[in-house]
């Protein structure tokens, strides 16, 4: 191979340019990419949270005019789109990226540059979507973009173009990551790590990637058809031309339901990692947990029309989807009981990660129960499209996913950054979040059953909704404040310079056997695994403790070189979609050609980049 400074550095296992913006733009290291995902996702989460606070402020009083109806509709559309695609999914991606290689004993993912490409495409997609605010054209048709409101006739501005194109860009990022992690988990496990010995977070992530791979193509097609209607005048969803608005709903929800399992399964995995460590005993019923996860994913493709119970599909369809939805409650219940079985008989260490993990169980039980109530189609005829649904999905998405992701953050923070987060502030964060969350969302069950529909920018004074809405707004303020506590904790802990040990929690899995933060090559020697809790096994074999692992030179370990082609290819993707959006502009075809050229040029160079080592 051609010699260069990079190659010599590669031989030493270290790379130059480890700091600075360029290092981050060209990184292909899964750990750095994980941090990029996490930081970006957290900022988008705060933006989505701000949108929520504005919504709650508007709804605090009846007949309020704090925001206009147009802006309100943009707020709730962007809140949903942001939280799902720009917050929860990439926060999960932070953990996929940082920890899947560590949990399976690998040095990186299967395709490091594809990994970087996924991140940059995600970031550009998120920026593209949010740039719509600058044009006063933020998406305003709901996160689910129902036809035919989303058609050019009824949504004449650029709003829904931003939405459809933004989601397409994000879909590319997700699909690329899906292929990457699917191959990584199947192919790059350490010797001895059979599938049935993998940590639960890896199992749940594996199933999640499969769901992404199978469901995202469906929304891709739906969005293509919508954009063809809007840009080229086809009639896929235009009733006057014979289009069927129900087709949009079916396509969307065939994606949309697996999507919610994409949002919750990684959270399940995180909880399954935390509970055993902080109960000091193994996960109860590992095999059942694996199979229930697989069953949930499989069934998740068979329940989509439970989002459509009020569309009058007929008694047979309603019955089939009701029963299938009830069926999915069974493996979900199994998981909850197995988690409780894990904690039962244990020696519970009430540290911050455990607080959030236990809070997750309590909140997810409630979200699951309201879900079962929705599953009975006739009752859902009252509940659907009301605040009762808003309560349900916030209990599973916030009480579920966000609580679990927060638990994971506190759990894995020392490993990622090399210092501990303060326990006292962590517990304060928990209590504020728990109280604020329940004050915000529990009353929504009530106000929904008492007649408040969804997606309304205001309500009149005589329907009784005022007092609970006001309470919900106060709760939201407390909830928002809890995240300020978290940010304060992060800043203070980062400054304190108190170093975290490799294994602060007495962990069971491989990531705790290497220094905090890990060295670039992860493991000096790829470990061989003999059981499901490999690090517990190792510690047991050595009399209960192992010495703090030393940082070693890493000479002779070959790592992939940094590269800017993934970044540039992502730029090409962004330019291509922007050009497509403006294809009717004066030099439209020229822009498209230029964007395609950038994309092809980047991919070409990427493919032919000289191999390392």
């Amino acid at each position: 191979m051609a010699t260069s400074v990079l190659d010599h550095a590669g031989a030493a296992g270290i790379h130059p340019e480890k700091t600075g913006l360029w290092a981050w733009i060209t990184t292909v290291d899964h750990k750095k990419i994980g941090i990029l995902y996490g930081a970006s996702a957290f900022i988008f989460f705060l933006i989505g949270g701000l949108e929520a606070l504005l919504i709650r402020w508007q709804l605090m009083k009846p007949d309020n005019n704090f925001v206009s109806p147009e802006f309100y509709n943009q707020l709730f559309t962007m809140h949903g789109t942001t939280m799902i695609f720009l917050a929860v999914m990439p926060l999960s991606a932070m953990f996929f990226n940082f920890f899947i290689p560590l949990l399976i004993g690998a040095r990186d993912v299967a395709f490091p540059r594809l990994n970087a490409f996924s991140y940059w495409v995600f970031l550009f997609g998120g920026l593209f979507l949010n740039s719509s605010f600058l044009f006063s054209a933020a998406p305003n048709g709901g996160w689910f973009g129902y036809a035919n409101l989303s058609s050019k006739q009824y949504s004449p501005g650029l709003n829904m173009d931003f939405w459809a194109i933004g989601l397409q860009i994000l879909g590319i990022a997700s699909l690329a990551a899906g292929v990457n992690f699917f191959v990584t988990i199947l192919n790059m496990r350490a010797p001895g790590m059979k599938l049935i010995r993998m940590p639960m977070f890896v199992w749940m992530s594996f199933i999640t990637q499969l769901l992404v791979l199978l469901s995202f193509p469906v929304i891709t097609v739906a969005l293509i058809l919508l954009m063809f209607d809007r840009l080229f005048g086809t009639n896929f969803f235009v009733p006057l031309g014979g289009g069927d608005t129900m087709l949009w709903q079916h396509l969307f929800w065939v994606f949309g339901h697996p999507e919610v399992y994409i949002l919750i399964l990684p959270a399940f995995g995180i909880i399954s990692e935390i509970l055993p460590v902080f109960s000091r005993k193994p996960l109860f019923g590992y095999t059942a947990m694996v199979f229930s996860g697989c069953f949930i994913a499989f069934l998740g493709f068979g329940v989509w029309s439970h989002h459509m119970f009020s569309t009058g599909m007929g008694p047979i369809a309603d019955s089939v989807f009701s029963l299938a939805t009830m069926l999915i409650a069974i493996p979900t219940g199994v998981k909850i009981f197995n988690w409780m079985g894990t904690v039962w008989g244990g020696s519970i260490q009430l540290k911050t990660p455990m607080y959030f993990a236990l809070g997750f169980i309590a909140m997810f039980i409630m979200g699951g129960l309201s879900g079962v109530m929705h599953s009975t189609a006739p009752a859902d005829l009252q509940q659907t499209d009301t605040y009762f649904v808003v309560a349900h999905f916030h209990y599973v998405l916030f009480g579920g996913s966000i609580f679990a992701l927060t638990a994971g953050a506190y759990y894995w923070w020392p490993k990622m950054f090399g210092h501990m987060l303060d326990e006292g502030l962590g517990k304060l964060h928990f209590w504020l979040m728990l109280i604020g969350f329940n004050l915000t969302f529990f009353p929504m069950h009530i106000v929904g059953l008492e007649g408040m529909p969804r997606r309304v920018y205001t309500y009149p004074a005589g329907l009784g909704f005022e007092s609970l809405n006001r309470l919900e707004t106060y709760g939201a303020l407390i909830l928002g404040f809890s995240f300020l506590v978290f940010i304060f904790n992060v800043i203070r802990s980062t400054r304190s310079k108190v170093h975290a040990p490799a294994d602060p929690w007495n962990g069971a899995t491989l990531e705790w056997s290497i220094p905090s933060p890990p060295q670039e090559f992860n493991f000096p020697v790829i470990p061989t695994v003999h059981g499901r809790d490999p690090f517990w096994d190792e510690k047991r074999a050595q009399g209960g403790k192992v010495p703090e692992p030393a940082r070693v030179s890493g000479a002779g370990i070959h790592l992939p070189n940094p590269s800017y082609w993934p970044f540039l290819a992502a730029v090409g993707v962004l330019l291509l979609f922007i050009a497509l959006m403006h294809h009717e502009a004066k030099f439209g075809p020229v822009y498209i050609f230029a964007a395609v050229s950038v994309l092809f040029f980047s991919i070409f160079n990427w493919v032919f980049e000289p191999a390392e080592g």
Partner: protein, 373 residues
């Protein structure tokens, strides 16, 4: 500090929190909820409610058992860092089978009444005694037609108590959903297929409903009322509405000038209108509402004749007595009606009704005129 005291202190703290929470939420329970789903007064809604109560009961039982178990586990098995390692249990097949089977049984018990109720919700009653109603969704108002009676109205649906109403629904533009919580739950409306619903009101009353499918800028202000009346009162209502067909035509406009534009009306021969400029003169202050109704262009979208469907804007036959205007949420006072006529874009931004430059005096005139209808 004693270990057990600490444990009880935490338990007391949790209990206090829970109590505060229940009080906070419960204090809102004294409020009246006119649009509630929990007090059904129609047979369809009652049927649906019965199923809901079944699932609510099971959900509450499961909630208390599981959350209780969770709290119990947390408190019973709290440990300290230097406690000995607990027994390393990996699972228990029998326990796992039990806790898979029991939820399955509970769900089976919910599944049976669910499927039964599903089939019943689709059995639209037939027969001569059934009152047929057509619902047509518009951005952002509701059109109601009685095909058997030859009537059209908007936003306020009168029905007789004790008689089944069979509803057939479509939309004229985007998806909406017709939600009448106390009578018939909801059903979405589509542009290219009709959906159905049915109900029988058991008690007279004024039942509020609202659109429940996001339909654009004013989705939040697309409410309606179902007024259930005794059969006698309903017949009076029908009679009054049918009588709007024979209302005499409005007087002919002054001699046409070169800017005249012919506008057909439902009530009689084509009348000419003059440009708006002519109506701002002093003589407009004394112009009767009936003339203003033509000259301002109201007649172009609204009919005062309940026997002729004209779907651009809501049919205004009966507008004088309706409880609400602007689709079910603004009280039908003179002041509100004037405001609505004069400044629709301020009252409900984005509606199809434009600001027509109606003066205060003209608005008063129009309001007085509409009160007679």
């Amino acid at each position: 500090m004693d270990h057990r005291f600490k444990r009880w202190r935490s338990f007391a703290g949790a209990l206090l929190l829970l109590t505060l929470f229940v009080v906070a939420v419960g204090s809102a329970q004294s409020v009246q909820y006119p649009q509630s789903t929990l007090h059904p007064r129609g047979d369809f809604a009652l049927m649906v409610d019965k199923l809901f109560r079944t699932t609510l009961l099971w959900a509450t039982i499961v909630f208390l058992l599981t959350e209780g178990a969770l709290l119990f586990v947390i408190f019973k098995f709290r440990g300290k860092p230097d406690d000995p390692e607990p027994k390393q249990v990996h699972g228990n097949t029998m326990v796992e089978v039990i806790w898979t089977a029991i939820p399955a049984l509970v769900l089976a018990m919910i599944a049976v009444p669910t499927v039964r109720t599903i089939f019943r919700t689709y059995e639209v009653p037939k027969g001569a005694d059934v009152l047929q109603v057509e619902v047509i969704g518009h951005q952002w108002w509701w059109e109601f037609r009685y095909p058997q009676l030859g009537l059209t109205t908007a936003n306020e649906l009168h029905v007789p108590v004790g008689r089944t109403v069979a509803v057939k629904m479509v939309t004229q533009d985007v998806l909406h959903s017709w939600w009448i919580p106390q009578l018939a739950a909801k059903r979405d409306v589509f542009p290219n297929r009709s959906t159905t619903l049915w109900f029988k009101a058991e008690e007279p009353g004024d039942y509020p409903g609202q659109c429940a499918e996001f339909c654009g800028i004013q989705h939040g202000r697309m409410a309606f009322q179902v007024i259930a009346q005794s059969p006698e009162e309903f017949d009076v209502y029908v009679g009054r509405m049918q009588a709007t067909a024979v209302r005499p035509a409005a007087p002919a406009a002054p001699a046409a000038d070169s800017t005249a534009v012919a506008k057909p009306t439902a009530a009689g021969p084509a009348l000419t209108t003059t440009t708006l400029a002519a109506t701002t003169t002093a003589e407009a202050d004394t112009m009767p509402g009936s003339q203003l109704f033509m000259m301002k262009g109201c007649i172009g979208c609204h009919s005062l004749n309940a026997t002729v469907p004209m779907g651009i804007g809501p049919n205004l036959a009966g507008i004088g007595r309706r409880l609400y205007i602007a689709a079910g949420w603004l009280e039908n006072t003179d002041a509100n009606l004037a405001k609505w006529i004069q400044h629709p874009q301020t009252v409900k931004h984005g509606v199809l009704m434009p600001d027509l430059g109606v003066t205060d005096a003209e608005a008063q005139s129009l309001v007085a005129y509409l009160r007679q209808h």
